[in-house]
């Protein structure tokens, strides 16, 4: 299924930008804030169409988060936009205090997550953001896998009441999920059924996991590929049922091995169904400059890495 079609490539951030424009038309309460990265976040269409509902904060992310929290007090639904590191680590206490603890309905939308932003390098490549955000009580954490899913997720979080961290990326990426999908927060999606090993992937890594599953099939291994677009709340029931069937699991994410999807799945399995788990993630390292695909290869986030993790998990059964 994955290789037979010619699949268009589009960035996940474009999915965010297109959905934001649609939301602007649909819901007058939706407002947007950006910290001097309107083009990079693809927020320019919204800014042009709804100038009175767009707030240019300048290069001042802490103030932007506080203003977003304040806008909810009048009933607005603020979407903030900047790069993932400036959306999380840079403003962690502002988010913790003014948004999460305060229970404010802010949608923190973060582009250029992970390694695949490429040449800008480690200063910009946050690999800790999922962990930072999922530790905050009240915070929902979503990392969609392609353009269509990011678009659907952006529309969905406007309906959900409560703080959300929506994580997406810079590069053009295969757009392989349906255009008309309904996005259900907290619902894992089976992308390919299988019975030997469950691969739980999030974000860009879902596509890589599907390629790995094809490769595993060539080696006689039937892999189930599950898109965990919502890391928190985790669809524990789906995870448990899948691993009950397959007997072992692999996680794949463009994030540190600490604090990310792997951690969440590990907790779930240890508490419910302790079976072998291997994690494909960045191993306690900062990133560096390079091309997106080169970096995924260097840091072990590619098809061979998932294949060998799956084989290892199988061996440990």
């Amino acid at each position: 299924m994955t290789q037979s079609l010619i699949i268009e490539k589009k960035s996940t951030r474009a999915g965010f930008g297109d959905a934001l424009l649609e939301l602007g038309e649909r819901n007058p309460e939706v407002v947007a804030l950006c910290a001097d990265l309107t083009g990079s976040l693809k927020m320019d269409a919204f800014a042009a169409a709804f100038p009175e509902r767009f707030f240019q904060a300048g290069i001042a992310e802490a103030n932007m988060m506080g203003m977003a929290a304040g806008l909810t007090i009048g009933g607005k639904i603020p979407f903030t936009g900047t790069f993932a590191n400036f959306s999380t680590g840079r403003v962690y206490d502002q988010i913790r205090q003014s948004i999460a603890y305060s229970g404010k309905n802010v949608k923190i939308c973060a582009s250029h997550a992970g390694l695949t932003l490429g040449e800008d390098g480690a200063s910009h490549q946050i690999l800790e953001d999922i962990g930072l955000m999922k530790m905050l009580p009240n915070m929902c954490v979503i990392n969609p896998c392609d353009y269509n899913q990011t678009k659907a997720a952006t529309l969905a979080i406007a309906e959900y009441v409560g703080p959300v961290y929506l994580r997406f990326g810079r590069p053009d990426w295969p757009d392989f999920t349906p255009a008309d999908q309904k996005f259900e927060i907290g619902k894992a999606l089976c992308m390919k059924a299988g019975h030997d090993v469950s691969i739980f992937a999030t974000g860009h890594m879902v596509w890589i996991a599907l390629q790995a599953a094809d490769e595993l099939a060539n080696q006689g291994v039937s892999a189930e590929v599950v898109d965990i677009h919502t890391i928190k709340p985790l669809d524990e029931e789906f995870v448990i049922n899948s691993v009950r069937k397959t007997g072992c699991a692999v996680t794949a994410e463009e994030h540190s091995v600490f604090g990310g999807l792997g951690d969440s799945i590990a907790q779930c399995l240890v508490r419910n169904i302790p079976l072998p788990l291997e994690m494909v993630a960045v191993n306690d390292h900062f990133g560096e400059s390079g091309k997106a695909m080169e970096l995924l290869e260097k840091y072990g986030l590619d098809v061979p890495a998932i294949v060998s993790a799956a084989l290892k998990a199988l061996e440990r059964k």
Partner: protein, 281 residues
């Protein structure tokens, strides 16, 4: 006496390097780099007392520089290489996998000349203050220089640092602002105006100097004045009135080249306007 012609010829070559570096990887930040490189050349080739052949992280007994607006990495790397911190051939590795010349300056790859990882804006002045305090503790009379972007001044941390330095008489520090009036989304006046920047620094307790940021003679004079103001209980800042994209006509007068690399044609056109003075890498 500074040899202004020579310094200008270094600047020309640095501008060529910048264009060639960002063009080779189709990424990087030519606009700010072209605008601020005269200041870096003045610092590294005339003003600073530093020893490129014997770089040490602690910088004891040497003037040191922190590039707070780390996206100007291409300009910094060229100036570092051209002043002897590492070979100019290494400039060809800019932003490529495995390079020491990371997209934004970092200390993790051991590149001589870099003492602070920057690129997340607004943090360099705080580090420069720390380095200046360390020099005082060490009874080291050398100075600390720090360059920031003007858009970068929108970060609150900058003003925390500004207050600290004045209140605590950090007077072995010379800050500078690349005052090009532009940032990613447009002009500062459209995005978030800084108001009367000269007065702002002044009321925060700093000695403020305005300099023509693309005029080597004026830069040298302003830096010499700045140095004469040090060790008098007041921190010093130079507002560098620069032009983003300076030296390449089609990159000037717009913010569009902040973070966009020229294509083949544009790079050729740009290099046509920049004389090769010291030899390309």
């Amino acid at each position: 006496m500074p040899d202004i012609d020579y310094l200008n010829s270094v600047s020309k070559q640095v501008r060529r390097d910048i264009i060639r570096m960002v063009h080779a990887v189709s990424s990087g930040h030519p606009g700010g780099s072209l605008g601020a490189c005269d200041y870096l050349v003045a610092l590294y080739f005339e003003i600073m007392d530093h020893d490129p052949a014997n770089f040490s992280m602690d910088g004891k007994g040497q003037d040191i520089f922190i590039l707070s607006n780390g996206h100007l990495s291409a300009a910094l790397y060229s100036v570092l290489a051209r002043s002897g911190y590492f070979s100019i051939e290494e400039l060809a590795s800019f932003r490529k996998l495995g390079t020491r010349l990371q997209g934004h300056p970092g200390t993790d790859k051991g590149l001589p000349g870099v003492r602070a990882a920057t690129g997340s804006l607004g943090q360099g002045l705080s580090m420069a203050i720390g380095a200046a305090l360390s020099k005082k503790l060490n009874k080291d009379s050398k100075k600390v220089f720090c360059l920031m972007g003007d858009g970068e001044l929108q970060e609150g941390q900058v003003w925390e640092a500004v207050m600290y330095a004045a209140a605590n008489k950090v007077d072995n520090l010379i800050a500078a602002v690349d005052y090009n009036g532009k940032q990613i989304d447009g002009s500062l006046d459209d995005v978030l105006p800084l108001g009367d920047l000269h007065k702002k620094w002044e009321v925060f307790g700093w000695k403020v100097i305005d300099a023509k940021g693309n005029d080597m003679q004026d830069l040298i004079k302003s830096l010499q004045t700045a140095i004469s103001y040090t060790d008098k209980g007041i921190p010093v800042v130079i507002l560098l009135h620069t032009e983003m994209g300076f030296g390449v006509d089609f990159m000037m007068g717009t913010h569009k080249w902040h973070g966009v690399a020229p294509n083949d044609e544009q790079a050729a056109e740009a290099l046509n306007q920049l004389e090769e003075t010291l030899g390309d890498y």
